[in-house]
């Protein structure tokens, strides 16, 4: 009786049980992700992070959740009512749907869809609607600016994300996530398509409004971005959506690129070990995201857009073209890997040169001889 077929044979009961499993798993993970982030980022800054609630601050997530549930969620008067009310759900539901298709162990996903990856792309777009509703609905200047910025950023970064994942799908030949994981028995796709992983990682950072791309929630410019007017349970829905998306994308990334449950030990090993393997890989990715968040300053809006439209999209289409050539003439995958590594290195060097160029401003104009400083 594998996890795939319905519980107790009754289909409608099975749906309820599976959603309950998913919802409870997600809330527990989100609670401990918020705590984990605060602890990890604190350690990066050489401080302790939460230690008061629970033995090592373990109950901090629970405490936050309780506080948010109890807090009064007020609605500004000039916010138009229904858009404001439904915005949190519009951001949360797509993220929840993404989690449904992810395989935690061999066909241990809630629903193993044949077009798993395609479903994820489709559902991803809905997220933007929720953010826009929050931005326009709350009738606050900062929220409006935040909403517009978030929408522009998410739409433009979806293209390189989708194209990078398509190259992997082409390589694997299927869109079914389970199959993709199976195919990575001997070598994970990251070794074959490193450039695709780099593009995927950068695009995921901006989908989650994280690290260098957290412009919609830039606290120093427009305080708080689109969820500035929310409080209490509605605000916690946004946080839930954000951290659930973080978890979802990290599992998605580990399944597609790092070999998911399959890579080092194959599928004979028990379900428990496979499950542990996926979780380890996704925590690795989450740690990388936290690490980047603790280090990187924030890009400006126009730099973000120009980086996407002038650099990332071109490279992802070129990658698509190259992978197409390799598959059509079925050249050996090793050369494809070489080309990919070359491409990734090229991207890094391009960024490095971009910032070392001579400054545009003219040289020193003016009659003032530089007063030599006598030692």
């Amino acid at each position: 009786m594998s996890f795939g077929d319905p519980f107790f044979g009754i289909s409608w009961l099975d749906i309820i049980i599976r959603t309950l499993i998913m919802v409870s798993a997600m809330t527990v993970v989100v609670i401990y992700l918020t705590y984990g982030e605060r602890k990890v980022v604190a350690r990066f800054q050489m401080r302790l992070g939460p230690t008061r609630t629970g033995p090592v601050g373990l109950l901090q997530g629970v405490a936050d959740a309780l506080k948010l549930v109890v807090k009064e969620d007020l609605r500004p008067r000039n916010a138009d009512r229904w858009v404001f009310e439904f915005a949190p759900y519009a951001t949360f539901v797509p993220v929840f749907l993404v989690l449904l298709t992810l395989p935690f162990a061999e066909d241990w996903g809630i629903r193993n869809l044949a077009l798993g990856m395609f479903f994820v792309f489709a559902v991803l777009g809905l997220n933007i609607v929720g953010v826009l509703m929050a931005g326009f609905g709350s009738g606050n200047k900062y929220a409006l600016l935040g909403g517009i910025r978030a929408a522009a950023q998410m739409i433009s970064y979806e293209i390189p994300l989708v194209v990078a994942l398509l190259t992997v799908a082409m390589l694997a030949g299927t869109l079914d996530l389970n199959q993709i994981a199976n195919l990575q028995g001997d070598r994970p796709f990251i070794l074959v398509q490193p450039l695709a992983f780099v593009i995927f990682f950068i695009a995921v950072l901006s989908e989650l409004h994280r690290a260098p791309f957290d412009i919609p929630v830039a606290e120093s410019e427009i305080v708080g971005g689109y969820f500035v007017e929310y409080s209490g349970i509605r605000w916690s829905m946004f946080q839930l959506a954000e951290y659930a998306a973080l978890w979802g994308f990290s599992i998605f990334g580990s399944v597609v690129f790092l070999g998911g449950w399959n890579f080092p030990f194959g599928s004979e090993v028990g379900v428990g070990l496979q499950l542990a393997l996926t979780l380890i890989k996704s925590t690795l990715m989450i740690f990388l995201i936290f690490w980047v968040r603790a280090t990187m300053p924030r890009l400006r809006m126009d730099q973000l857009m120009s980086f996407c439209w002038k650099v990332l999209i071109e490279i992802s289409f070129a990658l698509l073209l190259v992978t197409g050539f390799f598959l059509y003439y079925n050249w050996p995958q090793e050369i494809l890997a070489l080309v990919n590594w070359g491409g990734a290195l090229l991207l890094l060097i391009a960024i490095f040169i971009r910032t070392r160029r001579k400054s545009k401003a003219g040289d020193l104009v003016g009659t003032y001889k530089n007063i030599e400083v006598t030692e």
Partner: protein, 379 residues
């Protein structure tokens, strides 16, 4: 200064309304109680109206109604990030006006403390500027870690962390504690470690460079016309530092050099302040090596200081620029008129010219690069 990009101009048919954003006194990026109203067309700033005066405590009126010794308490609350620099300026002005000699050892202690406060204030700038550009507090806690160590040293020497009132007309209130030398040296090593951390974290970072290079370059004439002094002026390439140009106290005996930028943009301002800290650490080391022994307070000080006719304007190199103290005395124990020439006041007065034409995100970064302290602006 980036001119208004024509290509961005919206076509006349599409009539857009300019939005005014109130970057109010309560805002994480305004370094204290400062308000600026930006009229914004989309993301570009069309006009900026700064409002100051929220922290006006009437320093000058208070100084005129208290005797010279009592006024010390208010003067180190002007530039509250570097308490001792302001105290030093005020005390030297009063001594020069009254013609009081200061013993050798006190001079060295003062310069040492002033340079430590300069490092302290620049760490605050690095922390806050990193947060403005967006590094979410890592730069803040790096800066704060070093600031706390320097504050612990101030506490051991003078008794108080931010407002030590350690200097006195005629010298210093207390001598250094015994273990000061070892404590100071290991703090210097931790300061250098902190500077390397900042260098690694921000200076090379492509995103940081992308955000700050070529942002709002200023030529020396514009800087002088707007009254910029200190790191803001040195960033434009003019290496003018009052410790070298008009030396006071014992600065001619110490050798240190003045870092200057190339084109006065935000990155140069950051870089000038970062390398200035290395120079200040060098000065502190020299002071420690050449510290003479002897008394720290002029023995024959009058019981209550009375200064007869006289006036003077003593410019000193504060952390943000030229921190000048103007004093006029007409007999009696109180100063007849005292005026603080505060560097942040002049640097901030040009904010509209600097900010108009940039994006909202850049307006915040430019304001951060001015490194203003509202206690000093509002006096």
């Amino acid at each position: 200064m980036t001119t208004w990009p024509e290509s961005q101009g919206t076509s006349t048919s599409l009539e857009t309304v300019d939005m005014t954003i109130n970057v109010g006194p309560q805002h994480p990026a305004t370094h204290g109680v400062f308000r600026m109203v930006l009229t914004v067309d989309g993301e570009l700033v069309k006009d900026c109206e700064p409002y100051i005066g929220y922290l006006h405590r009437g320093l000058e009126k208070l100084t005129e109604n208290a005797d010279y010794r009592q006024a010390m308490g208010w003067w180190d609350r002007t530039d509250y990030l570097a308490g001792m620099c302001c105290e030093g300026a005020y005390v030297m002005a009063v001594e020069k006006l009254a013609g009081i000699e200061v013993p050798e050892r006190a001079e060295y202690i003062r310069v040492l403390m002033m340079e430590l406060s300069r490092i302290n204030s620049h760490f605050m700038f690095l922390g806050a500027f990193g947060a403005d550009v967006g590094s979410f507090g890592t730069s803040f806690t790096y800066g704060w870690r070093e600031r706390e160590r320097i504050y612990d040293l101030f506490e051991e020497v003078a008794g108080d962390r931010m407002f030590p009132t350690y200097f006195k007309v005629g010298g210093v209130t207390m001598d250094l504690p015994e273990n000061f030398e070892t404590r100071c040296r290991d703090i210097l090593s931790s300061i250098r470690q902190g500077l390397e951390d900042f260098d690694g974290l921000l200076t090379g970072n492509e995103v940081f460079v992308e955000r700050c290079r070529d942002l709002n370059p200023v030529t020396p004439e514009q800087a002088i016309a707007w009254g910029f002094t200190g790191p803001m002026l040195r960033a434009t390439g003019l290496g003018w530092d009052i410790r070298k140009a008009e030396p006071y106290s014992i600065y001619e005996r110490l050798n240190f050099d003045i870092p200057t930028g190339k084109q006065g943009d935000v990155f140069d301002r950051y870089w000038v302040r970062l390398s200035e800290m290395y120079q200040s650490a060098r000065i502190v080391e020299q002071c420690l090596d050449e510290m003479p022994s002897g008394r720290v307070l002029n023995p024959d000080l009058p019981k209550t200081l009375r200064i007869d006719e006289g006036e003077l304007y003593l410019p000193t190199e504060g952390t943000k620029g030229e921190y000048g103290v103007y004093l006029m005395a007409q007999g009696g124990t109180n100063a007849y008129r005292a005026k603080l020439r505060s560097p942040s006041f002049s640097n901030l007065s040009a904010l509209r010219e600097l900010v108009v034409g940039n994006y909202v995100a850049d307006a915040i970064v430019i304001l951060g690069s001015l490194d203003i302290v509202l206690g000093e602006v509002d006096k």
